[in-house]
Amino acid sequence: MVLIFFLLLFALILAGIVSDHYQRISLEQTNQGRLAAIADLKAQQVSSWLSERRANADTILKSPFTAASIQAFTTHPEDPQNQEEIFTWLGSLQKNYNYQSVILLSVQAKSLLSAPAGIQTIGKTAAGFSRQAIQTRQIVFSDLYRDEITQHLTLDYCVPLLIGDEPQMTVIGLVLLRIDPDTSLYPLLDSWPIASKTGETQLVRREGDDVIFLNRIERIQAPALSLRLPANTPDLPAAQAVFGQPGDFKGVSEENVPVFAALRRIPDSPWYLVIQVDQDEIYQPLAERNRLLLVVSAVLITAAGTLTGMLWRQREARFYKEEYLAEVRRQALSEHLLLISRYSNDIILLSNQHWSLLEANDRAVSAYQYSLAELQKMSMPQLFSIETRVNFSRQIQPLDEKEGLVFEATHQRKDGFTFPVEISARTIRVDGRKFYQSIIRDITERKQAEEALRESERRFRLFYEQSPVGYQSLDEKACFIDVNPAWLATFGYERAAVIGRYFPDFLTPDSKARFENLFAEFEGAGEFRSMEFELVCGTGEVMLISVNGKAGYDEIGRLGQIHFILHDITEQRRAEEAIRKMNEELEQRVLERTTQFEAANKELEAFSYSVSHDLRAPLRAIDGFSRILSEEYTAELSPEAHRYLDLVRNNAQTMSNLIDNLLAFSRLGRQPLKKQRVQPNEVVTQSLDLLRLEHGERCPDWQRIDLVVHPLPLCDADPALLKQVFVNLLSNAIKFSSKKERSQIEVGCLEENHEKIYFVRDNGVGFDMKYAPKLFGVFQRLHRVEDYEGTGVGLAIVQRIIHRHGGRVWALGEVDQGATFCFTLQEERIND
């Protein structure tokens, strides 16, 4: 990031430098062109100006009129006309050509006339030049110098005045044309066609080995002609102009300022022209632009720097965050390892290369019962039982070549108890030093399980070999892997004829097809349950077998061995078939019997109806006619005859009662039981009412009966039938106690073994218990009719009703000590 930033910066700077360089070159070229143009212009101007002056002087020199006029004047200086004429000429000359002064000198170089008037003397230098001009008869150019009299800078042309022809020409005088450079030459130099602060024109000439500056050098306040510098001043443009080549030049000004210059020689003169400008001025736009660029660049660089810095900081922050997270993860991992080691279910030991223990986890402490400090003083072999300790070095031998090793051993606790272990040992190398890590698992349970498995295998083998049931194992293609001896014995094959063969080949074609269909689905279902097939035995006999199969799967869930148990169910099936047939026959027979029984029942019903209807009719006839006889033929019949008629009628009545009871008794077996909740006390009351009604006439003495009815618990019964029970029992009680002075009858209920026992007790004649079983039989009587009338059906009816209610009835008694009749009713489950 920083590198990128600096590269960017570097590129920017380089681009700046290169740009600057080319800009400079461009500027220099532009400037040099401009300077050259100015130099050419100035040189031209100065040169023109000089030519003009020289032409002016030449005009004077060559003008015969002038010479004649001057001769006239010099011949007659006092002639005012001449004087005036000359003076006018001088004046016009001075004015027209802007001379400082124009002076007419004599051959002796004495001032004769001047314009402006009044100049009497001329300086020594001017006089020298004048004499030189007179002698040489040539125009002499004085160059610039300082006049001794006027103390002004002056430039003189000394023009001799000649008269006559060649070669005898005579000098008659001299005109001195004095030029003030301040008014005519210097303005030429000072004017500058373009605006420039440091632009400067220098006019120089050589003087010995020096360069003389002819005009004022404004920058160093050096007046004209005052500055003189050695020609060998290095890089000085003026020196270069005078002693070197004219043209473009880069140098250093008088005050050591770098400048650009254009150097020119003024033709036909000793002068040289130097046009120079400070390099700074030329470079100023560039500098300004550079400044601007610098500012912009600085802003850009600052921005870039800031951006870079931000990105950098962001990266830094991210880096530190990642570092922090990584550190947290490292700590968690370290904690994780610590916990794994400490709370592991396995013993974890660390030992040095001599197997001295260095570290042990909690499990090790609890397993060996040594404290950690004790363990750290021990070495690995000490944990081995004495018997296995000798093997230790041999067992760990392979660790020299391999990094890890698993082996079994027996370890010993502090108290001497030993336990089998599985040791997983690994070598750890840290900085060239060797350590051993041992993860030790107590495999007591596994050993026991293995032993149990072996035992189970033995037991299974025993069962398998000795079982009377046939076992077979098939592979996934239904081919035999194994069969047990019972299989071979049952089906009559030799082992060699079976193993490897396709099991369905042993089945009848029908069974084979069915088995193959089932087997195709077997892999999913995993078991067969009591599937029946027909197997062809070695003897050719076909046996019906019941097959139970269970699949064994390998580790990856593929069908492996399939185990089958085969039962020969031929006999069983035969027996079942026989039973089924017998059942069918039995059912048929029951059906027939039921039909017969129903028919019989119907017949019986019809019979009963006939009995009630038809047996009674003759009785009615007997009774009716004998009564008519005794009532309407009273006179004809003797008392004896009346008595016989009464007997006839009594028997008829008895017969009628018998029939009624018998019918009631037989109806009891047929009519349905209408059970409901019953309050027995109410039933007893109704029964007594009925008895009073029936026996009212025959037993008028109800006053001699002491009747006690205890509260009776609710029961579930058919109320009409229960009433019949109480009617019969109570009427018996009344009847058999009628010969006592007072009848004592008690009705009650008592609970015994969660059973409600209802009873009716009397103090009557009782009975001998040895006849008790006869009491409830039909027509069974224990007393003579003369003593106690009755049909002998009442108790039989009671018993039948009680039995139909699912209860029991019994009697207790003793002769002359009364009787007690007890009964129970089946307890219905009562929810409330």
Binding site: Y609, S612, H613, D614, R616, A617, P618, L619, R620, A621, D623, G624, F625, R627, I628, R649, A652, Q653, M655, S656, D660, L663
Partner: protein, 147 residues
């Protein structure tokens, strides 16, 4: 057959019972006003003036019917049903007089419209007593249709 008015139609197959019943009733009903039918068919022929009673006037009907249930050919229940389901005859009081004490017979008879149900007692004195009460009630006290 004549069209003499009849007080009682006695439907009874047993001749002994016929005689005893007539004997019991004779004190308040002249014997010539008791018509006896010996089976169900005859009872119906008489009531609906068909068969051998086809010339009988249907306007003259017995004032009460004493009906035994156990009858030859058509039994008493059938007779009861026909009599009580026909608008012409359903106004005649029918007293079932039978030796059957079967509850089913009792219920069925009342359901079909029997006016009374009497079990014939074996004791003739009781029977006479019962017959007298019946006659007194149905012939003398009870006002029947058309009287």
């Amino acid at each position: 057959m004549t069209d003499t008015p009849v007080d009682i139609l006695l439907v009874e197959d047993n001749p002994n019972d016929v005689e005893l019943t007539i004997h019991a009733l004779k004190s308040f009903c002249p014997i010539n006003r008791i018509q006896v039918a010996r089976d169900g068919v005859e009872a119906l022929e008489y009531t609906f003036c068909t068969g051998k009673y086809m010339h009988r006037s249907p306007t003259i009907q017995p004032r009460m019917i004493l009906l035994d249930l156990k009858l030859p050919r058509v039994d008493g229940i059938q007779v009861l049903k026909r009599v009580k389901s026909d608008p012409r005859t359903q106004g005649i009081p029918v007293i079932v007089l039978t030796s059957s004490s079967d509850e089913g017979d009792v219920e069925e008879s009342y359901r079909l419209g029997a006016n009374s149900y009497i079990i014939k007692p074996v004791d003739f004195a009781e029977f006479t007593h019962a017959a007298r009460i019946l006659g007194a009630y149905w012939l003398e006290l009870n006002r029947s249709i058309g009287m």
